[in-house]
Each structure stands twice: as C-alpha cells, then as structure tokens.
Symmetry: C2
Subunit: 527 residues, 2 copies
C-alpha cells in the first residue's frame, strides 16, 4: 500500500463553494470601488447614525441562507442596510470621543494581514509576524522619544548617517535602566492596563511583602478600564485609592504621596499606580516626573496610560509631558486612536528586562503542543507570552505600512495640523462671550460650554444635541469635577484628530454651533 | 465674528501625505494581484518557515523613514522579506496545531471593516456594527443547534416557510432556560474563558457563600488558557482542581463529583467548571451531559470551551457530543479556527438572562463620557459591557460574508470533507503495522506514532521533523497521559481543516510520511 496510500478515497460528493482567486479579484475590485465611493461621498452623510433601535436587526433575515448568495447581493445589503446605519468615525466632522484613525495605507496593511491569514502566537508559527512587530515597535519607541530601555535591544540606532531624520526625531529621553524591555501590539488600552496590572501583581506576589494587601492608585480622571481591570484581577474597591486632581484635572502628586504613606503605615503595599497622559475627560496630563520618582522610591509598578495623547509624542515639542517615563515600568498608547493605524493596534512597552520578566512570568504557560525547538533554545520572542490571548494576527503590517507611507515627517504634520486647528478653535471660543472654555486646551482637545450654564449643562446639552441632530458634526460631552469642591459641571468635548479633518471642517463645526445657539432660549423652555 | 468663524486660520504649512482614493484604488489592485498570486503559488512554498532567528528583524532598516516611501517599495519588501519568512497557515498541507481558517469572503468582510473604520463600543457609536453582530450570532446559535436561550431573543425562528433550510439545520437542542442570553464576538477562546470566569466569580462574590474559597475545575487536558485565566483573576494553584481523564482523555465525571464533594465538605465552593469539547491535545470530548447535571445541582458555572470542535456542530450528526449544553452557562467556539472566518473571531454565548446579567455586572463600568440617550433608555446592546476591551471593530462583517457566501450547506460540506479525509487517513494508519493510532480519531484530528516507539517518541519525533523539514507538510505533536498510569507518550497530531486542503493533500502528506520513514533507523542513531 505504500505507493498508493489513501487510495481509493470516496469521491467528494459535495465540495464547499470556495471562492476562486479570479472571483476574489472581481469581488475585491467591486468592494474597493464601493470603499472609494464611500470616502468620496462621506461628507454628505450625517455623522451620527439616525437609526431606530432594532431597525438593522429587523432588516436582516431571521435565518442564514441554505445556499450560497452572490457577492453582489451582499454588497447591496452593505450599501442599503449597513452604511446608512453607521456612525461615521472617518467622517471629517467626527469630533466625538477620541478619533479612531484609519488611513488607506493601514487598510492595505490590514488587508494583507487578513489575506495571509497567519497566526503569530509563537515565533515559529510565522517568524516574519514576530520580527516585523519587534522592529516596528522599536521604531515607534524611537519616534516617541522613549528611552532605549523600552526597545527590544536596549539601544536606539545612532543615525549618524541620517542627519535629517535625527533632526526630525529629536533626542530620545535618556534611559535610567540599562537593559532591554521591548514592545508588543495589544488590542486596546484596556487590555494594556489589565496586562500591566497582572505583571505588577505577579511582582507583588513574589515579593517579601506579598502578605500585605496590594493597593492600586488611580486619579478620579483615570480611564474606567483601570477599575474594570481591578475587578477582573479579583481585587475589590477597598484595594483602590482614588487620588484627587488639581485645577487642571491632573493627579495631585502630594495627595498620592500622602495616600501611600497612610497605606504603608497600615501595612498595605503600594503595588500599582496608573498615571494618565491625556485623560479621556479633559486631556489632562498627570505630572509624570513627580509620580515616577515616588513610585520608584516606594517600589510601586508605574503604568503610563497615554492611549490618546501618546501619538503626539512623535513631535519632539510635546515631550516635556513625557518626562518621567524613564522610571515607568510600562507605557501604552493607541496608534489606532491618533496615528492613522486602524483599530485594533495598541502599543504596549516594557521598560527594561525586569519589567519584561514580570510580564512573561504572569503570562507564560507552555503546554506540550506549543513546545518547539526555536522557543526552547530561548533565542526568539514568543508574543503569546506577552499578553492574555494565545492567537494573534499580523497587526504589525498595518503599522509598518503607515510608518512607511507617511514617514516621520508626515506623522508629525498630522499631529501638528490638529493641534493647530484646536488652538484656533480655542482662541475663537475664548474671544466669544457667549461661551467659556471648560478646561485648558490639551493638544487637539477643546472643552467648552455655554457661558454661565448651570452645572447640569442645560443649555450646553441642548446645544450639543442640536449640533448632533443636524448631522453636520458629532460631539460628545463629559462632566468635570469643580477644583474648588463645588458641583461637577457639564462640558462639551471637541476632539479634533480625524485623518480627513481639515481646517474647513473645524470652521463648519463652529458655524454649526453658532447656528444651533441662536434659538436656544425657546428650545430649552420646550425641553 | 459669527459669520466668519475661525478666520483667518494660518495656512497649513505641511499637510500629511494622505493617500487619495485614486491612489488607494491603484494600490489595492496591486495588492489584490499580489494576494491572488500568493494563493495561486502557495503550494510551491515550504509550509513551515525556514527562517534563522533575527533574519527578518535584521533585514529591516533600524529606523523609520523620514519621508514617504512609495507603495511599490513596501510591496517589494512584502514579497522579498515577509512572504518567504512566514509559516503558511493557509497552505493546504498545513496540518499543525489547529487550522486558522481564512477564506476570500472573510477577507472581503474584514477589508470592509477596516475601511469603514467604525468602532462599536456602544450601540450609538454604530448601530449596524452592533445589530449585524447580534443577528449573525443568533444565526450561528441556530446553525449549531444551541438551545434558543443562547440567542438574543430567546426564540429560534420557526422556518415553516423554509423546509429545506429546516431539514439542513436539524432540530436545535431544547432549551431548559426560558430567557434570552445572546452572543458576542471576542478575540480568542482565551479571552472567552477569562470572561466567563470573571462572570462566575462575580456571581460567587454576590452569593451567600462568598466567604468560601472559590474552586475551579479543569481536566488535565483542558487548554492552558484556563490556568492563565485563573492566574489573571488573582487565584492561585490551590484554587484549581485538575480532574483526571479516562482512556479517551475526557474528563471523568465521577472524579469531578468526588472532587466537588470533598471541596464542599471542606467549606470550599465549586464556582467554575470548564468542560472541553475537542481538547487541543487529542480532540477529546468531555461528557457534557453528566458534567452539566452535576454543575447545575452544585450551582457551579459551567463554561463549555469548544474552540476548535464547535464549528463541527453545524452538522446535525455531530450534535450528540453537544448534549448537555442546555444547562451550561456559557459556550464558546472559534469560527476563526474551522469555520472559514479569519482570525480574530471567537463566538461567546451566554445561556439565559441570569448568565448574561452576571457577565454584564462583571464588565460594566459607565463613565460620564460614554453615557448617551440610547444606552440610558436600556433598549439597546452596548457590547463593551460584554467583554474586557472597550473599543471593538466591526468583526461581524466577515462572519456575515462567510455565512452568506457558503450558506449552511456549504459550511456543512466544509466540515464533512475534513472529517471524511481524517477517517480515510485513520483507516490507512490502522492498517499499517509500522504505525499505531495514538488516540481515537476525533472529527478531523488524527493522532499516531511509529509503532512500538518509546514514550519520548524518539522515532516519531524524528519522523515528524523530517516531514516538517521537507516543507511538504507541517505537523505538530503532543504528549498524552497513559490511562493506565504509565509514562506519558509522544504523539504526532494531524489536524485536517485547511480551507484549501483537498484529498490529494492528505494523500501527499501520507506519502511524505512514508518516504520519511524509510531511512529512520540510521537517522535516529545519528540524532
């Protein structure tokens, strides 16, 4: 039987209906045309969806088809049922939440990732998937000016033969740790904070103070994902200290010090501090240098959540806010927010070999079926040991495509354009008595309200709803604590940062705000 | 100033180099051609990468470019540096691990998701993103024969007007819970088990026995992600009971009962049982009906991990193995393994409203900036409350495209083809004295070894290495416990399931095995 193995196999009665490469080529061209058309006409669409709950669900059949449907019909449904019921995040007049940048180079990189369909859990399961990621994250560390201890090698390139690039990049912050850490792509900043917290707790459990209650420090303005992570790791609200913020909504380091002192005197252990660079509410920057010094002395893991603002550090003039990161243990930011790379792409960096080792200890479990010669020899990175999921797609491709398509200069221009637009908007608001700035502008984020509005923001909320109902822009809000201890106050957020947002869109936004303002007195009586 | 807002803005000195729709169209066409060429020639490539550690990293420049690079150059690097250093998961002779199915319809759905660039954390942030997902997961529950309590409405459609579809789908398992649960797309089965465990612990913490130590039950063959999840939620090895397996490597329900009895008598609380349908090592099926009955009586959360095998339940003839799921609390499987949907797409279902409520309690945190009228009114699903990440991409599109392109019948044919191929391979191995089956075939997974090999698998490992070195196929291994208590034994796994794997590839695999066998005696002396 040896030369006729497996013969006769029964003939295949029913082959699944695989799409041929020729059919794929046709369908892809149709879809690319649809996508181009979507972008060419996106400004004509209302930014925020005008969908009734259940409308899309009800429009779809209640059961899958028995037999294949042609691609044309699927695309028709995309056109008729999906597209009109989206909130258009790539619309140039989307100013809500934070941006979720997309760009065509990123879409192409993601398409390639989908098509290659490789799974990079281990180095062996696709070496290029691992090594492109390692290289691109080392680039990113350099671009942000992170110390060399955040790279996989522990050293930045000298760039002696590239003076222009060196000039553009500016000087990275000096390393205070002299071993390599390295970066990995995670899905979201929520995953990053949970991963960092897991590493910190691993360190705590191995320490001589492991019997002490671990304490986690956040500010009142930290992202909700920190509290979610604290729940998931099995801690309770009593393990969290919410540190008050100052008049700029940044963590008060003196209050942090007092809280740590008090905990230490009660035999509790400061284990994890989350500092935010660019809070979600108002874009506040926690004073990193002071917090980092404190964390280092008290041996608490310092995680820096720069989910949104981190992208801005590609501009050297912004890096004053990053000072102190030299002593942080982990740092994360989302290129999928403001660096033109499609969701999901959250860059997570470890500072130095000790931090990396704690992460690996928290995340490594090697069953027999994942063992292989390359991993056993220890000379390669297996990224499944750097995060919670086992499987992983080739997300570095889209980031690599973006960095190469734009170059360092192009990405700096992208950030600077939005900061400039926000500065202009801030000046206009500041000069208009009918409005007030609700917080200092932070990079490309401007917060305002109707002047003399009540704390609940009755007028401001009505104004925002009208702008959103107009379909010409989409804004969201927050509620900010009063630094003087008064009632918290409503504020409208304008988060500039869309890839396609040009000066004219910011002008139109303001025009829309002004037009929505005029009939307000009557409208608010009705509501 | 009201009619000339924001004027004059300074002119933009440097625009980032955005890609125009015309340039995107050209680049996309080039890339689609590359992808078609990759698939047309994939069989000529060695399945497993032959890369030296560091080769790809070193081939890439040590710094990002200062200025834009043309897309052609990027694509050249993909061709020369990336493609040759991949392990080709979509190669029809990839039989390693479990498959990570891709398909062209899925690639198209994912391309659309990238291009639309919407973020579905809340219903409001793109209603279609949420509602297509809800609908498609209800379809999937129906296709797998899950009880109606796993759907978002609590009811399956009657299908009275579609007798053929009804015939194809078979009868779903009857519901024993009479309220709706529903499904959500997560990234991986690792995330699913962590999410399920978080919900179970939330339930435990609210219970009257919350002071008792929570105990987690797995089998020795459960996936490593369960232990990883236990670490992450802050529990320790003492919280885990590893239940022995029977001669088929399935969890022994009598042993589970004894373990629970013992824990209860020691004032410990059985909180979470992970049953596996299709273990990673050998594809074993834990006896779900018995385990489910036990969990229900002892009020332990039952999570069913069917990561790989779950896709096979689209075939009604496989559903005997699913019996008992009626009483499970959560169920997950990965369409990205064996249902032609690209990574990442892990379907996670809750059984009934109580299970869903515990999940939502474990995962919900609503800061002010995410509040909105639709969510406050309570009539919509906000999927960010169903999982750890906040942000989420429109992953339902690729699944929707796949279900419509193939139809129920096409997906059944896909599964049946691989099971039939595996059955043929099993017969050939069984008939050949030089080999032995190392475990009973499970669906499309066949385990074998060289006959009379030592427990470490000296001959079998050498054989596997040669097959892999040949580049003509890629196999991985596992080590299986001896049911009689002897030494655990090495086994080669053949996981059939690639989208492009046809009978001839299984034949070629076996031919390669036989050719690699011949010179073994000499070779093993050398090694």
């Amino acid at each position: 039987m040896s030369d006729e193995p497996l013969r006769p196999l029964p003939s295949t009665p029913d082959e699944p209906n695989h799409m041929s490469t020729a059919a794929f080529r046709d369908a892809a061209h149709q879809l690319v045309d649809f996508i181009c058309d979507y972008y060419d006409t996106i400004e004509a669409r209302p930014v925020r969806a005008r969908t009734e709950p259940g409308a899309v669900y009800d429009a779809l059949p209640d059961a899958p088809p028995a037999h294949p449907e042609p691609f044309d019909r699927v695309l028709d449904d995309v056109r008729e049922t999906v597209a009109p019921n989206l909130t258009h995040w790539q619309h140039p007049s989307f100013f809500a939440y934070f941006p979720a940048n997309g760009s065509f180079p990123s879409v192409l990189g993601d398409l390639l990732s989908s098509a290659l369909g490789v799974q990079g859990m281990l180095w062996q399961t696709s070496p290029a998937c691992t090594e492109v990621e390692t290289r691109v994250l080392d680039w990113l560390a350099l671009m942000l000016g992170l110390p060399a201890s955040f790279t996989s090698t522990g050293a930045h390139p000298s760039l002696q033969s590239e003076p222009e690039l060196r000039e553009l990049l500016g000087e990275p912050l000096p390393a205070v740790r002299d071993s390599p850490g390295g970066g990995v792509i995670l899905s979201t900043a929520s995953e990053a904070v949970l991963t960092a917290l897991s590493a910190a707790l691993e360190r705590h459990r191995r320490s001589s103070e492991s019997v002490q209650q671990p304490i986690i420090y956040v500010s009142s303005q930290s992202h909700s994902s920190v509290r979610k992570a604290v729940n998931i790791v099995g801690l309770v609200p009593e393990n969290i200290r919410e540190i008050p913020t100052d008049e700029r909504h940044a963590m008060d380091p003196a209050a942090l010090r007092r809280a740590i002192d008090e905990d230490e005197s009660n035999a509790c252990r400061p284990v994890f501090v989350c500092a935010t660079l660019g809070t979600t509410g108002s874009g506040a920057f926690d004073p990193l240098a002071e917090i980092a010094e404190l964390c280092e002395r008290r041996r608490a893991w310092l995680h820096v959540d720069a989910a949104w603002a981190g992208s801005a550090f590609v501009c050297p003039e912004q890096r004053g806010l990053l000072r102190g990161v030299q002593s942080a243990d982990s740092f994360s930011f989302n290129p999928h927010k403001w660096l033109l790379t499609n969701f999901d792409c959250s860059a997570f960096f470890l500072n130095g070999a000790a931090a990396r080792e704690h992460l690996l200890r928290a995340m490594s479990i090697t069953p027999e079926y994942l063992r292989n010669a390359a991993s056993d020899a220890g000379g390669v990175i297996d990224y499944r040991d750097w995060h919670i999921p086992l499987g992983r797609r080739f997300r570095a491709l889209k980031l690599w495509f973006v960095l190469r398509h734009y170059g360092v200069k192009g990405l700096q221009d992208h950030i600077r354009t939005h900061c400039r637009q926000a500065a202009s908007l801030e000046r206009v608001i500041d000069a208009d008595d009918r409005f007030e700035l609700a917080a200092p502008r932070s990079m490309s984020l401007v917060l305002f309200r109707v002047a003399d509005d009540d704390p609940a923001g009755t007028h401001s909320r009505a104004l925002m709803d009208r702008v959103n109902d107009s379909g010409r822009a989409f804004l969201t809000h927050t509620v900010l604590p009063d630094p003087d201890g008064g009632e918290a106050r409503f504020a409208i957020r304008v988060a500039i940062g869309g890839a396609l947002t040009r000066d004219e869109h910011v002008r139109t936004l303001w025009q829309t705000v002004l037009e929505s303002l005029e009939p307000l007195p009557t409208a608010t009586k009705d509501s």
